[in-house]
C-alpha cells in the first residue's frame, strides 16, 4: 500500500505505543494522509480539489445534521419550517445558506477534480477502479443533491421532483409502476417528501463510505502526477505531510474565501427565485430548470425531439444516463499508453473543445427549450458522445505523442525538454 522508502510509523509516547498495539488507528491515518504516504513531488494546484471535495462533503454533513434539527418533512410544514430556519432559528440563515451554497461548491470542486482526471489520464491503468469509484460517488452526489433540492417544497422543488420522476415513467411497461413506487403516490406529495428526506440524510454517509474505497484504491498505485510518468525512486516523491497538507491548506484558504464571498454577499445567486414560492400542484412555473450543476445533463435530456423507433422522451432519458455511464468505459476507450495530456498535443486540443462543449451544454440547459437553443443542444450532445466514442479511440491509435521525461525527478530538476528521450526508448540520457 505504500512505497518501500516511505517513513514507517513509530509511536514515541507510551500511550501511543499502547494504542498502536491494540487499535492502530493513528498508524492508519499516518499511512493514509500523513508522513507515511509518499506523493509525487510535482503535483500542481489541480491536485487540491480532492481534499476540497472531501471538505465540502464534511461541510454538507455538519450543516445538514443541524438543519435537520429544525426541518419538518411534512407537505404543509416543510416550506414553513425552512422559513422558520431562515427567520427564527439562531444563525439559521447562515446554516441554510452554507448548506445550499455548499452543494454548489461541492459540485464546482468535483467537476474540476473530474476534469483534472480527464486531462492527466488519471483514469488509466492501474487507476481504473479509482476512476469508477469516483463516478459512483458522482452519481450518489447527484441523487443526494436532487433529493435535497426537493426538501424546501417550493415550486422548483415540486416541479423538479415531478419532472425527474417522470423520467422513470418513460421506461416501457414498468415505467409507471416504478414512478408510483418512487413517489408513493401519483404525484409528488407527503410520501415522496418524507422518503426523500430519509434518503437525503442517508446517502452522504454512503458517499463517505465510497470515498474511503476511492482513497484506498488510489493508495495502491499512489497518486498520478502532471507528467503521468510512474514513480520510480525516492527522488520522485515527498511525504504527504507536511508537504501536501500545507499545499492543501493554502488551497482550502482560497476555497473558503470564494465560498464565504458567495455565502455572505450573493447567497441566492446560484439558486432560483421560484423556489421561494410554496409548492403548488396546480400551477407549473413558466420555466422549470434544475440547479445549475445539472444543466449539461438537462440539455442532453431535452435534445431529443424526434421519435425514432422509441419515443423521443425515452431517447432523452437514455442519453442522459448514458452520458455518465459512458465514462465508466473511458479507461478502455482511450487506449493511448501516455497518460498526461501535456504530452498529447492533439488530445489536448480536443480536451479543451470538450470543456467548451460541456459549458455550452450547461448554458443551453439553463435556457428555455426554444430555437436556436434546441439545435445548439443537439449539436453539443452529438459532439459529447462523439468525443468519447469516436475521437478518443481514434486519437489513441493515430496521435504522435511528445517524448516523456525519464522520471518525475528529472522533469522537475532539469526541465522536461533537455533530459527527455522519446517514449518507449529506455536508453539512458547522454552525460
Amino acid at each position: 500500500m505504500s512505497f518501500p522508502w516511505a517513513q514507517a510509523y513509530e509511536p514515541k509516547a507510551p500511550l501511543m505505543k499502547w494504542l498502536d498495539q491494540r487499535l492502530p488507528l493513528p498508524r492508519l491515518v499516518w499511512n493514509s494522509v500523513g508522513g507515511g504516504y509518499e506523493v509525487p513531488r510535482n503535483l500542481n494546484y489541480m491536485w487540491n480539489f480532492a481534499v476540497l471535495a472531501g471538505f465540502a462533503l464534511m461541510l454538507q454533513i455538519v450543516t445538514g445534521i443541524v438543519l435537520a434539527m429544525h426541518y419538518a418533512p411534512a407537505g404543509d410544514l416543510a416550506f414553513e419550517s425552512v422559513e422558520h430556519i431562515m427567520r427564527d432559528v439562531n444563525q439559521g440563515w447562515l446554516l441554510r445558506y452554507a448548506h445550499a451554497n455548499g452543494a454548489s461548491f461541492f459540485f464546482i470542486v468535483t467537476y474540476l477534480h473530474i476534469f483534472r482526471g480527464l486531462y492527466y489520464g488519471s483514469y488509466k491503468a492501474p487507476r481504473e477502479l479509482v476512476w469508477m469509484l469516483g463516478l459512483v460517488i458522482f452519481l450518489l452526489m447527484m441523487a443526494t443533491a436532487f433529493m435535497g433540492y426537493v426538501l424546501p417544497w417550493g415550486q422548483m422543488s415540486f416541479w423538479g421532483a415531478k419532472v425527474i420522476t417522470s423520467l422513470f415513467g418513460a421506461i416501457p411497461l414498468v415505467g409507471e409502476p416504478i414512478q408510483a413506487w418512487l413517489l408513493g403516490g401519483f404525484a409528488p406529495d407527503q410520501p415522496a417528501l418524507n422518503r426523500f428526506f430519509s434518503l437525503h440524510y442517508l446517502l452522504p454517509f454512503v458517499i463517505a463510505g465510497v470515498v474511503i474505497l476511492h482513497i484506498w484504491a488510489l493508495h495502491i498505485p499512489g497518486s498520478n502526477n502532471p507528467t503521468g510518468v510512474d514513480i520510480k525512486s525516492p527522488q520522485d516523491t515527498v511525504p504527504f505531510h507536511p508537504y501536501y497538507t500545507a499545499k492543501d491548506g493554502f488551497g482550502l484558504g482560497v476555497f473558503l474565501i470564494l465560498f464565504c464571498a458567495t455565502l455572505f454577499f450573493a447567497p441566492n445567486y446560484l439558486g432560483h427565485a421560484d423556489n421561494y414560492i410554496p409548492a403548488n400542484p396546480l400551477s407549473t412555473p413558466a420555466h422549470i430548470v434544475p440547479e445549475w450543476y445539472f444543466w449539461p445533463f438537462y440539455a442532453i435530456l431535452r435534445a431529443f425531439t424526434v421519435d425514432f423507433i422509441l419515443p423521443a422522451k425515452l431517447w432523452g432519458v437514455v442519453a442522459m444516463f448514458a452520458s455518465i455511464l459512458l465514462l465508466f468505459f473511458l479507461p478502455w476507450l482511450d487506449t493511448s499508453p501516455v497518460r498526461s495530456g501535456s504530452y498529447r498535443p492533439r488530445f489536448r486540443q480536443f480536451f479543451w473543445i470538450l470543456i467548451l462543449d460541456v459549458l455550452i451544454l450547461g448554458w443551453v440547459g439553463g435556457l428555455p427549450a426554444e430555437e436556436p437553443y434546441v439545435m445548439i443542444s443537439q449539436i453539443a450532445t452529438m459532439y459529447y458522445f462523439a468525443h468519447f466514442l469516436i475521437i478518443l479511440p481514434l486519437l489513441s491509435k493515430l496521435e504522435r505523442t511528445l517524448p516523456l521525461p525519464n522520471s518525475i525527478a528529472e522533469s522537475v530538476l532539469h526541465g522536461e525538454k533537455r533530459e527527455s528521450v522519446p517514449y518507449g526508448v529506455q536508453a539512458k540520457p547522454a552525460e
Binding site: 401519483f186 406529495d189 410520501p191
Partner: protein
C-alpha cells in the same frame, strides 16, 4: 462434523438414501442456504413494497364534480389523485375541428368519440398532466395560451394539444390521458 473424510475424499458415513455421491451434509447445506435465501427475499418484500402508494393515497382515487356551471367554451381544473384534471365543455366548432382531422395523421391516433362518452361528446375530461414530463399545460383559464391547435399548450417544453387534447406538436409522446369517468347525472361526473 458427523462425518469424517478420508484422504481419498469418500465419506465414512455414506448417506442412507439418495446415493450418487451426495452426502447428508450436502443436503443440509443446500437446504439451509436455500431456506435462508427464501427468507431473505421474504424480508425484502415488505421493505420494497412499503414504498408503493399506501391505502389512504389509493382511497383518494375517485372524485365527484358538479359540471352544471361550465358553459360551452369554458374549462375548469379540478383534482383527482392529487393531480390536476381538465374538464372542458367543447363548443360545436371545437368538436367539428377535432373531427375534421384524419386520425391516421396523429402521433397517438384516437378520435374525439373514443375520448368522450356517447351523447356527451362536448364533455372532454383529461388529466392536466403533460405526457412529456408532467407539467400542467395552459389553456383551461380565460386568456391562457392554447397553442397552435386551439387546445392546450405546455409551457415547459412546448407541446401543443388540439381541441380533443391530442398531441399534435412538441416532445410529448401521447395524448393527454383520459381518466376513467362516468356521468352520475347530467350535472355530476365521477372521475375514477
Amino acid at each position: 462434523m458427523a462425518t469424517v473424510e478420508h484422504t481419498d475424499g469418500t465419506a465414512e458415513a455414506a448417506p442412507p438414501t439418495g446415493g450418487e455421491g451426495h452426502r447428508r451434509r450436502d443436503f443440509i447445506n443446500v437446504a439451509a442456504v436455500s431456506f435462508a435465501g427464501v427468507g431473505g427475499l421474504a424480508v425484502l418484500y415488505p421493505l420494497i413494497n412499503q414504498m408503493n402508494p399506501s391505502a389512504d393515497v389509493l382511497a383518494l382515487s375517485s372524485t365527484e364534480v358538479d359540471i352544471s356551471r361550465i358553459q360551452p367554451g369554458q374549462a375548469i381544473k379540478t383534482i383527482f389523485r392529487k393531480q390536476p384534471v381538465f374538464i372542458r365543455n367543447l363548443t360545436p366548432a371545437e368538436i367539428q375541428q377535432a373531427n375534421s382531422v384524419p386520425v391516421g395523421d396523429l402521433r397517438d391516433p384516437q378520435t374525439l368519440a373514443e375520448r368522450t362518452r356517447d351523447g356527451k361528446a362536448n364533455w372532454l375530461i383529461t388529466m392536466a398532466v403533460c405526457t412529456h414530463l408532467g407539467c400542467v399545460p395552459l389553456g383551461a383559464a380565460e386568456g391562457e395560451n392554447r397553442g397552435e391547435y386551439g387546445g392546450y399548450f405546455c409551457p415547459c417544453h412546448g407541446s401543443h394539444y388540439d381541441t380533443a387534447a391530442r398531441i399534435r406538436k412538441g416532445p410529448a409522446p401521447k395524448n393527454l390521458e383520459v381518466p376513467e369517468f362516468e356521468f352520475l347525472s347530467d350535472t355530476v361526473v365521477k372521475i375514477g
